[in-house]
């Protein structure tokens, strides 16, 4: 038999039909929805007089728009409230399970999916959110879709999809102390650019990936979209199965055993072919930070912003615009730059492991006087764990604020915005202009690099403090 890639094994079992000279009709196992990209899809169904075809395969939560303080009170902002209420109404009407505001399982959609055990190897998963690639950490084909497509999946549990090309990125070797999975993915994107993987499904492999925890793998897959990839994935292994076992919606007993037998077949066969392959030496990666306004504009913490002479002619205009927005100069170092805000959260880095890492580092330390530090857990479950483990007390003692779960300052749809002109080190996934608030300036980095800056008030090489 012809050797197959992990992607092909999953893809082939989900194709209902392939249209001649056209896309495949792809069956979707799990559909996550949230308040921002679903209302128009529900409206579309209503206008067509259609039911939701498979409501039991949809999971809903409110995350993008929710406040991260006083969640027990009605949402102050009228439009946000309307959107959250609309989700509530639609879920009731169409028979969809909702983990809404106040629910003990509420949280960022890409945090609760794996946490609750909805995400399982071999699945096809979609959501009206580009960071759906996160779920690929479990060996799934998971990708973001637009609202018209949300409507299609609601109506038929299927999507029209063109098979992407396949890329494998091998990260071999040992990571340096203080270097996290966030640094791996920021490093990869800085190498291949914000569009370098467009049209590809990316499989991450190699010893450095195998050695990562599930949380850390999710961080890597999460940012696949930031280099344009359709999805990112990692073959499931013992680390995956250990993480999953016992979670609420993961099969039990005999059903666990039969699923496990299947899941263990999900890996890329020796000799399977990729359209592109990239090899990365893990020991070359240092803590990363971005300097520009797309996630591909990243450098090692000891590095310098590129000089104009190092760029292609057609890149110069966008580059200069970007640096002007950031208030930075070509050729300068970022280390030592004064910081105003620290945001630790988002579907990239808000899981319990992220919070534990930060707590371990800041224990007994104090935040710098002039910085404000927001820690936003990814879910109610993460928040609960943080309280149970006393992490909240460590944060409090350090002067950090532990807020309530939601997407928060990653995209500033709620009140959590970084003021104009201020610098924020953020563990989120996008440093686009205005992403964290109009004219806010974002440096993307790992939770440890963010925590180090919280203590010193400046961009800091965390390796000097551990």
């Amino acid at each position: 038999m012809k050797p197959k890639t992990l992607f092909e094994k999953i893809w082939e079992t989900h194709v209902v039909k392939t249209i001649e000279d056209g896309p495949a009709v792809l069956y979707i196992d799990k559909h996550f929805i949230h308040e921002v990209t679903s209302p128009q899809a529900f409206k579309g169904l209503e206008q067509r007089g259609l039911p939701v075809f498979r409501p039991e395969q949809i999971v809903a939560t409110a995350d993008h728009n929710v406040p991260t303080e006083n969640q027990h009170l009605p949402i102050k902002e009228a439009l946000s409230r309307l959107q959250v209420d609309t989700l509530d109404k639609n879920c009731k009407k169409f028979g969809i399970e909702l983990y809404g505001l106040g629910h003990p399982y509420q949280g960022i959609v890409h945090v609760i999916g794996p946490e609750m055990g909805f995400t399982q190897p071999g699945m096809t998963i979609v959501c009206g959110d580009s960071h759906t690639s996160t779920h690929g950490a479990f060996g799934t084909i998971a990708f973001g879709i637009g609202t018209s497509e949300v409507e299609m999946v609601m109506a038929t549990q299927c999507l029209m999809q063109t098979k992407p090309r396949l890329m494998r990125i091998n990260v071999e070797g040992k990571l340096h102390h203080g270097v996290l999975s966030k640094d791996i993915i920021l490093y990869i994107i800085s190498k291949i650019s914000a569009s370098g993987a467009t049209g590809y499904a990316v499989e991450y492999a190699g010893s450095a990936i195998r050695n990562l925890s599930m949380e850390a793998r999710m961080t890597v897959c999460n940012m696949s979209i930031e280099m344009g990839a359709r999805c990112g994935m990692i073959a499931p292994d013992e680390t995956t199965f250990k993480y999953m076992r016992g979670r609420k919606y993961v099969p039990r007993g005999d059903s666990w055993n039969s699923s496990l037998t299947y899941w263990k077949t999900l890996f890329t066969d020796d000799g399977a072919e990729f359209d592109a392959e990239l090899n990365i030496d893990a020991s070359e990666i240092e803590p990363m930070i971005t300097y520009g306004t797309n996630p591909g504009m990243g450098i090692g913490i000891s590095g310098h912003v590129p000089n104009l002479r190092d760029l292609e002619e057609n890149e110069k205009h966008s580059f200069e615009k970007s640096l002007q927005y950031m208030g930075l100069e070509p050729g300068m170092g970022i280390k030592g730059k004064k910081i105003d805000y620290i945001f630790i959260g988002s579907c990239t880095n808000s899981r319990i492991e992220d919070l534990r890492l930060v707590a371990d580092f800041v224990k007994g330390k104090q935040k710098a006087k002039d910085v404000e530090v927001w820690i936003v857990p990814g879910s109610k479950q993460v928040e609960k764990q943080a309280h149970e483990e006393g992490i909240d007390k460590i944060f409090e003692a350090a002067g950090f604020i532990l807020r309530q779960p939601g997407c928060s300052a990653c995209l500033g749809m709620n009140e959590d915005k970084i003021p104009a002109g201020k610098y924020c080190i953020s563990t989120s996934n996008r440093n686009f202009e205005g992403r964290q608030g109009p004219n806010a300036r974002t440096f993307l980095a790992s939770p440890l690099t963010a925590a180090a800056a919280a203590i010193t008030g400046r961009v800091t090489d965390v390796r000097e403090l551990i």
């Binding site: 209902v16 990209t37 409206k43 395969q57 439009l79 009206g128 018209s148 299947y262 995209l411």
Partner: protein, 204 residues
Amino acid sequence: MKAIRKIESTGVPINIENIDTDQIIPARFLKATSREGFGKNLFRDWRYENDNEKTPRKDFALNDTRYTGKILVAGKNFGCGSSREHAAWAIKDYGFDVVVSSFFADIFKNNALNNFCLPVTVSDEFLKELFTAIDIRPSTQIEVDLESQLIHFEGKNVIIKEKFEISPYKKTCLLNGYDDIDYLLSMKEEITAFEKRALTPNTI
């Protein structure tokens, strides 16, 4: 949806690479529950100083009276970032039927097609010549013909022409006004049959 076949128009140039969907429509405008009215906030933060409609940024193409038309011409990797279809709604609602770039992000491209806004991918050289032509003569007419998959405009004393790619399936949809959802709905029986022969234990 209304079918599209041939669009002849002047172009509005935004010669910037990696334009992400947060620029096309900032997150704070995603709170609507309907698809209408996003055009007025298209490129909001590039269009206005301090979010104020009374202080338009004169140097931005949408505020420059020399540039009008149904064709948006933009730099490489247009529409990257967030999957928000609101970006495609905003572009279409503003009045653009075509976006020309040398590279489109995946999700945006799908979203645009689903809204009958045609993404036309051209070579880097073609795009450069088009920007130059519009810069010299903003009244440059651009013609996009979906049937023949050709885009052309009049450059300096010469017609510059290029063929663009589109999947034959999508082309048929756009030429006839078909939505994917109509097609999928017509397949309900096949989909149900597919579910019954469930190939993996995950498929419910």
